[in-house]
């Protein structure tokens, strides 16, 4: 029995060092050399600061001003924001697009609370897009636009969703619709090996491209 315990203890230590330190550290070194950008998180820099990741969705909001022209705050003292119409809007997020604290929305299929939230997402979407697309009805709103993503930072929206938002972007930014559509196409990821998953328009890279004045 004592011999077994010693043998077991040695195995536990050796495997912990090999699999818990050598393996991940060698893989980290290798990844940093072969795919440095990916391994670091596909970060987007501006003026030497990290402002996001091409893989992560983020909020594109602007502060809401009160009557006196000052930023409004809610009861907790947090600034009240609204979707910035100059940007494509990502899918609703339960986590406020947090890239450091993640959790599922856990909205059940038959919960009254789910229906109420979905209705709110839907109304917010219509309020933002309908002025630029008068024929827009709830039935025409793509499902991705009014449902929580899984990760809270889904970078993608559906092509149909992007096509609806494109009319607003073109109008607000005074750009030809054709140019916005071209930018959408340039920031669309296809299916895996042409078959798996769904095409997605990457809102993060698309909005940065708009800001850069890309054509």
């Amino acid at each position: 029995m004592r011999k077994e315990l010693i043998r077991g203890s040695i195995a536990v230590v050796v495997f912990t060092v090999l699999l818990g330190l050598v393996y991940p550290l060698v893989m980290t070194g290798l990844s940093q050399v072969v795919f440095p950008g990916n391994a670091g998180g596909s970060l987007i820099h501006r003026n030497g600061r990290v402002i996001g990741s091409t893989l992560l969705g983020q909020a594109w909001q602007k502060p809401v001003l009160d009557a006196a022209g000052k930023p409004k705050t809610d009861a907790d003292g947090n600034p009240v924001t609204a979707p910035d119409p100059r940007y494509f809007q990502p899918r609703p997020s339960a986590t406020g697009y947090s890239a450091s604290v993640t959790y599922f929305a856990n909205r059940g299929p038959d919960q009254a609370a789910t229906a109420a939230l979905t209705r709110r997402h839907l109304e917010a979407y219509l309020a933002l897009e309908k002025p630029y697309d008068p024929g827009l009805t709830p039935a025409r709103v793509p499902v991705d636009a009014a449902t929580f993503s899984a990760s809270g930072v889904d970078p993608d929206i559906s092509k149909a969703n992007a096509a609806i938002q494109a009319r607003r972007i073109a109008a607000v930014r005074h750009l030809p619709l054709a140019r916005v559509s071209r930018l959408i196409a340039a920031n669309t990821d296809g299916r895996g090996i042409g078959i798996f998953g769904e095409p997605g328009v990457n809102v993060t890279t698309l909005n940065h491209a708009l800001d850069r004045g890309a054509r």
Binding site: S100, T118, S149
Partner: protein, 568 residues
């Protein structure tokens, strides 16, 4: 719809094309034959035996094998618990996380020991890189290797022709499985995942973006059918599963080893048809579950339709995966006892949610966890042989070995114990006030959450209706003030321990019993076990046992939910 079925069809074609090859490779590894990695790995292997003080040529009988297994497991779980409880002292902790509380640490330690990887912990908000690497990732390897070792011992017992009662050497099996199978596959998988954008760095959080050594852990999380995510939202998070292609790759490597093992089995017992029969049985049950969950999710939910949306259910799903690839992943991760998720299970439709539950209700015998899936299926095979033997009125035999009353008793314990744990613990959770703080949803969904929690932990799966919580944390870095729901943590921990080790001991006892038996020659009256007829019988046994055990519980949760559009 057609495009979705194309995804499912092509996936199955890719899978069936490569798993027989992997199965053959593993058979050679388990039989001590030379493989292409031998020149590189053999010196390391011999070095490890010397360090451990193990004579690799010395076989153990099933009791010695079980003793080694239990000792190593106990030491590992103690070390993991210690690491989690003293996290604040360790290096590789750029976010400065504090040590865990006793209840959540107990749940997490048992969870990784048992290959469950239930997530009451929040990966990126509570665990340091050291805990993730030296604690969790090590167990991802070892728990997978231990389960495969138990399976190999059972196969040796079945295949032994003139047995001395030995079933192998535990240390040798675990070492060879880690060195020849798990590590090489993980290295390749890490590189593929990073090439798609998965993160692999020790650089800490920058600009509010949490990072870490994700890809190396992701690789073994999937290959070892563990399923505990580096991030709380698991394979839905873009840093774990960045693209539609990485999602395809993840689905393939989850299924790779469990789907290849039937072919390993066929080779080791000297009859590839036996392997194909078992694979075919598993595949049939798998494909039904994929189709049901996909059709249900395409239909959408009552809540979304009440809100005015028209279309399928994308709540809790990622756009880049879409409904088809999310449904496929959901079916795969629950037939396989993996538990990685790229979709919020809590947000599945009623009928869609019934599919993961049913898959767990098969006691993870349909592909199942690495090793554990096939040993569970082999218990069902023995049960089917016994039932078939009763029907034709002959002493049941399997591959020439008589199945006697003691064997059938052991098989029954192994096959039914996890179901018992799941039901009793669910009853305790919903019948007392202690389970209530964990429940998030109202109506039948609240029952589904509780039931799934104990079903998943007892079966060592680890996927969750994640509204059910065992951990309460303020949403702030540094997890200040975080605490556990002790009842859920402790009950869950024991569900996992019982659900893991009772079947393992039963399987090893069966292996030891079979290893001693003499082989009877095949006669005219011998029931064939390598035919489609036997496959049907096996499907019947698996489905009937699952249905008889769980139907009442299914009725209270997902079945009610899929029969009504009422909102709760």
């Amino acid at each position: 719809m057609a495009q979705g079925f194309l995804q499912i069809g092509v996936f199955c074609a890719i899978l069936i094309a490569f798993v027989p090859l992997l199965g053959g490779y593993m058979a050679r590894v388990f039989s001590d034959e030379r493989v292409f990695l031998t020149p590189v790995v053999a010196p390391v292997e011999r070095g490890l035996y010397r360090v451990f003080g193990v004579d690799p040529e010395r076989g153990q009988d099933w009791k010695a094998y079980a003793r080694s297994l239990l000792i190593v497991s106990t030491l590992f779980v103690a070390l993991l618990y210690l690491i989690l409880r003293t996290q604040g002292l360790h290096p590789f902790n750029p976010q400065g996380f504090k040590s865990g509380t006793w209840d959540v640490s107990f749940n997490t330690a048992t969870s990784f020991l048992t290959n469950t990887n239930w997530q009451y912990y929040g990966g990126e908000t509570t665990l340091s890189y050291f805990s993730q690497m030296a604690g969790l990732a090590v167990q991802n390897f070892i728990s997978a290797a231990v389960a495969i070792a138990v399976l190999v011992a059972l196969i040796r017992g079945i295949a032994a022709r003139h047995g001395d009662g030995t079933v192998g050497n535990f240390y040798k099996d675990v070492t060879r499985i880690v060195l020849y199978i798990l590590v090489p596959l993980s290295v390749v998988a890490t590189v593929v995942l990073v090439s798609q954008g998965a993160v692999q760095t020790l650089g800490g959080t920058v600009g509010g973006i949490a990072r870490g050594p994700v890809a190396s852990q992701e690789a073994i999380k999937l290959l070892g059918t563990n399923g505990g995510g580096f991030f709380n939202v698991n394979s839905a998070y873009p840093f774990e599963n960045p693209t539609a292609f990485s999602n395809l790759f993840q689905m393939l490597i989850i299924l790779a080893i469990p789907a290849a093992l039937p072919f390993t089995y066929g080779r080791m017992v000297g009859s590839r048809r036996q392997g194909w029969t078992i694979f075919g049985t598993m595949f049939a049950l798998f494909i039904v579950s994929v189709v049901v969950v996909y059709v249900a999710e395409r239909h959408g939910t009552p809540a979304a339709h009440a809100a005015g949306l028209v279309g399928g259910n994308l709540e809790g799903k990622e756009q880049r995966f879409g409904i088809a690839s999310s449904s496929l992943f959901t079916a795969i991760t629950t037939v396989v006892s993996c538990g990685a998720v790229n979709t919020a299970f809590e947000s599945l439709t009623g009928l869609g949610g019934l599919v993961p539950m049913t898959n767990l209700g098969y006691s993870e015998s349909v592909f199942g966890g690495v090793g554990s899936g096939l040993y569970m299926m082999l218990l069902f095979v023995l049960l089917a042989v016994f039932i078939g033997g009763l029907m034709v009125g002959r002493t049941p035999e399997y591959l020439g070995k008589k199945i006697e009353p003691r064997d059938v008793k052991l098989v029954s314990v192994g096959a039914l114990f996890t179901a018992l744990i799941a039901l009793v613990f669910t009853a305790l959770a919903v019948g007392t006030k202690y389970g209530r703080p964990s429940v998030f949803a109202s109506g039948p969904q609240g029952f589904s959450e509780s039931f799934y929690a104990y079903l998943s932990q007892a079966n060592n799966n680890g996927s969750a209706w994640a509204g059910y919580t065992g951990y309460v944390q303020p949403n702030a870095p540094g997890n200040v003030g975080a605490h556990g729901v002790t009842f859920a943590d402790v009950m869950g921990g024991f569900a996992m321990l019982f659900g893991r080790y009772v079947p393992i001991l039963a399987v090893l006892a069966v292996a030891g019993s079979l290893a001693r038996k003499k082989v009877a020659p095949v006669g005219l009256g011998t029931m064939r076990t390598d035919t489609p007829t036997f496959g049907f019988l096996l499907v019947g046994v698996v489905v009937l046992i699952g249905a008889l055990t769980f139907l009442p519980a299914f009725l209270l949760g997902p079945v009610v939910q899929s029969l009504t559009t009422h909102l709760f």
